[in-house]
Symmetry: C2
Subunit: 149 residues, 2 copies
Amino acid sequence: MTIHQITEAECRLVLSRGSTGRLGCALNDQPYIVPVSFAYESDSIYVFATFGQKIEWMRMNPQTCMQVDEIENVTQWVSVIANGKYEELPEDDRPHARNLLEQRHTWWLNALAERRSRVEDLLVDPLFFRIRIESLSGLRATDSLQTGS
Amino acid sequence: MTIHQITEAECRLVLSRGSTGRLGCALNDQPYIVPVSFAYESDSIYVFATFGQKIEWMRMNPQTCMQVDEIENVTQWVSVIANGKYEELPEDDRPHARNLLEQRHTWWLNALAERRSRVEDLLVDPLFFRIRIESLSGLRATDSLQTGS
């Protein structure tokens, strides 16, 4: 197995093909990860989520990372990390985010609009935010037979 | 869509069925995530990895989380978070970890034993560590039609 870094352009391709990623946040040196649905556009990753620990944490520490991968098998995969700042979207910016997300997640948004999402007894409303990308990096593993020099 | 917390026993079932997870670590409030292959046993998650940023970071801050999910679709999924401490395995403990991991990842271990993994020009050796689980939590989303009270 050969692991090599991919270019920023390749990272952006992976983000543009992806629709589910893992969002990481941290508080007092404790990391936390949640799977999220997203849409990527230029230097932002738009996310549609419901309130919970991740939102609480990112409000306190906006430093996040989004990890998106395409795993063929354990020796053939690509994994991209986008580091960036959490920004909750004000009312005015939500239609744009909603449009982008609807291209990939229409029926989910519809489902949420029709029903109401519940975490135990708390009603939770959908919430839009973006990660403003500050750096991108990625690794690709290939099951190559070349041994190199 | 209904989201509810699952029991610790259910979390353990998800871990025991899983073989790929996302490992989160953090340094100076910056989170970092990598996909890893793992094997779960009682209160430990055993991981086989190659040296890289995650190892550097976890040596400096051993507080980690492992996120493992089973995603059917965006409204039907389960996601488990295991928080715990990073422990690099000394020589004596490696055979046990290797045995556990071999049950799920035999050919990968073989592949790595036969070839040598390369990150750019650095030869990297496989490395075994475990996450000693300190807390477990999980959420399940179901596309249920029940509206509750």
